[in-house]
């Protein structure tokens, strides 16, 4: 779905609603949402205990993915990774440990509280090979052809312009680079009117 198919949906209003929702996930993860969060979710999605061993509990608590990108393949040493919609930073911190000191991970997110949570997690470990940048999936702040792998977890469905987001992932990847994405699939037809309801995007 690209932005043209969203009719009169206000993109800025949508992004603001999504930011408000994920601001709460960052600040009050114990509140309870319409999706699972935290360590129980990571367990449900088959994250290895070893991956989580050194990750700060505050990072894990605000995890809100829909799948496990690393079950599509463990990342290699020295690889460059972009995490689109990095949230609290769990996948970025796991990736940074997989790629090692000579690899590099860039997490991109649009929610300030999530960026703060992710940066704190990286500082607490501490990790030098991961950074978090403010940005949208449709305009990744990453050079052309930089990444060996693009990962993302539960974010593409929230991007108003999915074609642009996929185009950006393609631009950021090296030739031969991989997409390892977790997201959601809607099996029943969704009427156009539903696509314009912001509360359905966030809940």
């Amino acid at each position: 779905m690209d932005a043209q198919h969203l009719g009169d949906l206000d993109i800025e209003e949508l992004r603001e609603a999504i930011q408000q929702e994920y601001d709460l996930v960052a600040r009050e993860p114990e509140r309870g949402f319409h999706f699972h969060t935290g360590r129980p979710l990571a367990r449900m999605l088959d994250y290895d205990d070893a991956w989580l061993e050194d990750v700060p509990e505050s990072t894990i608590a605000s995890f809100a993915g829909t799948g496990n990108p690393f079950r599509l393949g463990v990342l290699g040493q020295r690889e460059h990774v972009v995490d689109v919609g990095s949230g609290a930073g769990l996948d970025s911190l796991i990736a940074s440990q997989m790629v090692g000191a000579d690899g590099h991970v860039i997490g991109v997110d649009m929610t300030p509280a999530m960026l703060a949570r992710a940066r704190q997690g990286a500082a607490d470990l501490p990790l030098q090979n991961v950074e978090f940048r403010d940005g949208y999936a449709e305009a990744l702040p990453v050079p052309d052809g930089w990444a060996d792998v693009v990962i993302s977890n539960g974010v593409l469905n929230l991007a108003p312009d999915k074609a642009a987001a996929l185009g950006e992932m393609h631009r950021a990847l090296k030739p031969g680079g991989r997409l390892q994405i977790a997201d959601i699939l809607v099996q029943k037809p969704m009427p156009a009117s539903a696509k314009r309801k912001i509360d359905l995007w966030t809940g």
Partner: protein, 65 residues
């Protein structure tokens, strides 16, 4: 696939919203969590070769209609 990726494959699907703390609209639309893989082709030749090999099979029920 959009943007010219190749080797697209959905590799896992599961009901990830069931029993979430708050009620969700996910069930109304049969929403599943998935993982998918895709790859950026090495070059234009690989991309063209990949798409040339793709075959769209028409389901029997459509053919009969």
């Amino acid at each position: 696939m959009a943007a010219g990726f190749i080797d697209f494959a959905i590799t896992w699907r599961a009901e990830v919203y069931a029993d979430a703390p708050q009620e969700s609209s996910a069930g109304d639309f049969g929403t599943l969590g998935i993982t998918f893989f895709a790859r950026k082709p090495l070059n234009e030749e690989e991309r063209e070769d990949y798409f040339a090999r793709q075959v769209c099979e028409v389901p029997a029920s459509v053919e009969e209609a």
